[in-house]
């Protein structure tokens, strides 16, 4: 009781408090540490390694050693170099694909929730349609027609098809927030709709938005990996998904070359898992009820 009252009365203190608890929450700390460590590896690793991850640099099918940390592929490519480049494209797809769907979801959700009426009916219908559309199947058809496939085009089509649940949630929250007193007040003072949305409504669901962004990021990475694995990956780049695809295509399984297929999948699991765990931690930070006593 006392906590709720205070949370409503002071806003400046709340931000600080969230940051304070966020950094002290072990889930957030561990999750972010993993995500950042792999991000740094993907960002800066390529500068220290070869620019062309597909180059044949060493002996074929070599197990991990001091020289080739993750071993080499069937053709003698360095798995670690590929891995580091793959991390980079995974983060790129996550950021871009997640970002695009976030923006679409936000726009649709806010418009539908704030405007209501016919606009809402139509947008809600579209949202529901895209929601039931089996995204991966549609993505496969579209990507297979693309003559040139790149990380960016992949991210764009992933973004276009993974926004609906964000839109739905944002719409529902906007509905409730749009009827609050302070929003009415803002409306009476003649502020424009987008100003009200950005200044009055968005800050009040900031925690939720942050968490959806994280989920979309992870989702985009998983989606991209699946597309890559079926052979619809970027033609000109190495990704974690294409690594797995290549390893399967050249029967690493039967040859026992585990170092070829374990690292890419593990990295995806680590990134996405760490993101989820960060989210759980953030949830505890934003909802003091969940904080462990």
């Amino acid at each position: 009781m006392s906590a709720e009252v205070v949370l409503q009365t002071e806003r400046i203190g709340r931000r600080h408090e969230h940051l304070y608890f966020a950094l002290r929450n072990p889930k957030v700390a561990i999750g972010l540490a993993i995500v950042l460590a792999l991000l740094l590896l993907g960002l800066f690793g390529p500068f220290f390694l070869s620019d062309s991850p597909n180059e044949y640099v060493g002996p074929k099918s070599e197990a991990p050693s001091g020289e080739y940390w993750f071993g080499t592929t069937y053709f003698g490519q360095d798995v670690f170099t590929q891995f580091v480049h793959g991390l980079r494209s995974s983060y790129l797809v996550g950021t871009l694909g997640g970002g695009i769907s976030f923006v679409i979801g936000l726009a649709v959700g806010f418009t539908a929730g704030y405007r209501g009426g016919m606009v809402d009916e139509v947008l809600n219908m579209i949202t529901n349609v895209v929601l039931v559309l089996p995204a991966l199947a549609v993505l496969i058809v579209i990507s297979s027609y693309l003559e040139v496939r790149g990380v960016v085009s992949q991210a764009v089509i992933i973004g276009i098809f993974s926004w609906p649940w964000v839109a739905r949630a944002v719409r529902a929250q906007t509905f409730t927030l749009a009827n609050r007193d302070y929003v009415d007040l803002a409306r009476l003072t003649g502020k424009r709709s987008w100003q009200i949305i950005v200044r009055e409504i968005m800050p009040n669901m900031a925690s939720y938005l942050l968490m959806s962004m994280i989920l979309l990021f992870g989702g985009a990475i998983l989606f991209a990996a699946m597309l890559d694995f079926i052979g619809l990956g970027p033609a000109n780049a190495v990704s974690l998904g294409t690594m797995m695809q290549q390893s399967m295509a050249w029967s690493s399984l039967h040859l026992g070359m585990w170092w070829w297929f374990v690292p890419p999948g593990l990295a995806i699991t680590l990134i996405v898992g760490a993101l989820y765990i960060t989210n759980v931690g953030l949830d505890e930070v934003f909802n003091p009820k969940l904080r462990e006593m």
């Binding site: 009781m1 002071e10 003091p288």
Partner: protein, 316 residues
């Protein structure tokens, strides 16, 4: 004497430490008495109500006792309290609109609840229907899902259900705050009627709305920062309040005091420091226009006249 509360202390556990939501509360409640418990949000009045029936997960019973009909309530022991709930202490919660399981028919839910408490639904059915009719509902609501009823109807169902076992003590927690004025009045009258008909022996009506509680309460207690600052018959509290805070509440001290107070609250970061780490002396003195040096010491509880007690240096 129905209820005798002595030096009750209940804390809220938070990461920053214990918030002393109830910091030494004592009062008594006579048979048939309706007590209004008033104060701002965050003063501890809801905590007091909850303490007498069920502490939530973050609350801890630190000290003090509550004796109901000569038997001490095991406040800190959730399991032991279970036997006393509903039969002896009951509550009409703040959230009556959502207090009923949305996916069960009301009659079935009541039947399952009675059976779980070792009672037979058939035995209570006639009385249940009689009381529903008393509050203007028909037997048919038992066949409805909560969603089929209006807010007012749900409130009445909850009122009947909470008092079905004729408890000695009923806590009505902000029961009217979600209703419009006409319904507020009806609910308040129903509460009095329940007392008059003997469905409940005595009642604590928790509210922030002094004008409403004035209509139904025999006695009014005003809480501030985890303590009771003034207790008097309803008439007296409204007509001649003694504590500066009570006066502020009923508007005897015009807005100046209140506005100042709001501002003060806003600028306090974190949880209310007065409850996490309460100041010594009078807790109202930072907001009190009459405050002076002597207020830095714990104020005495002064009996102004029979039944009128004030904790303030300026009471006389």
């Amino acid at each position: 004497m129905t209820l005798e509360v002595a030096d009750l202390q209940v804390h809220y556990r938070t990461l920053k430490g214990d918030v002393r939501a109830l910091d030494g509360v004592s009062f008594s409640l006579a048979d048939g008495e309706i007590v209004g418990l008033a104060g701002e949000s965050g003063c501890g009045k809801t905590t007091l109500g909850k303490s007498l029936i069920r502490l939530d997960g973050r609350m801890r019973h630190v000290g003090g006792t509550a004796v109901l009909d000569g038997d001490e309530l095991p406040i800190g022991d959730d399991k032991a309290m279970n036997a006393r709930r509903w039969k002896e202490v009951s509550i009409i919660p703040q959230y009556s609109m959502s207090a009923l399981n949305p996916t069960r028919k009301i009659g079935k839910m009541i039947a399952e609840l009675l059976r779980a408490r070792g009672k037979s639904y058939r035995e209570f059915k006639d009385e249940l229907v009689r009381r529903l009719e008393l509050v203007g509902l028909t037997e048919k609501v038992l066949d409805n899902y909560p969603i089929e009823l209006s807010g007012g109807m749900k409130q009445r169902v909850v009122m009947v259900l909470s008092t079905l076992l004729d408890p000695s003590l009923l806590i009505a927690d902000e029961v009217t705050s979600a209703l419009d004025v006409t319904n507020q009045r009806a609910v308040a009258e129903t509460l009095v009627r329940f007392r008059d008909m003997g469905f409940v022996k005595s009642m604590i009506v928790v509210t922030h709305d002094l004008s409403l509680v004035y209509q139904i309460a025999d006695t009014i207690m005003v809480m501030y920062a985890g303590r009771i600052v003034e207790k008097a018959p309803a008439e007296t509290i409204i007509k001649s309040p003694k504590h500066p805070y009570t006066r502020a509440l009923i508007g005897a001290l015009p807005e100046v005091g209140l506005e100042y107070g709001d501002e003060r609250l806003q600028s306090i970061p974190g949880k209310p420091p007065h409850l996490l780490n309460p100041p010594t002396g009078c807790r109202f003195r930072a907001r009190c226009p009459l405050a002076s040096e002597e207020c830095e010491a714990e104020p005495p509880t002064v009996t102004v006249e029979a039944g009128h007690e004030v904790s303030c240096w300026k009471a006389n």
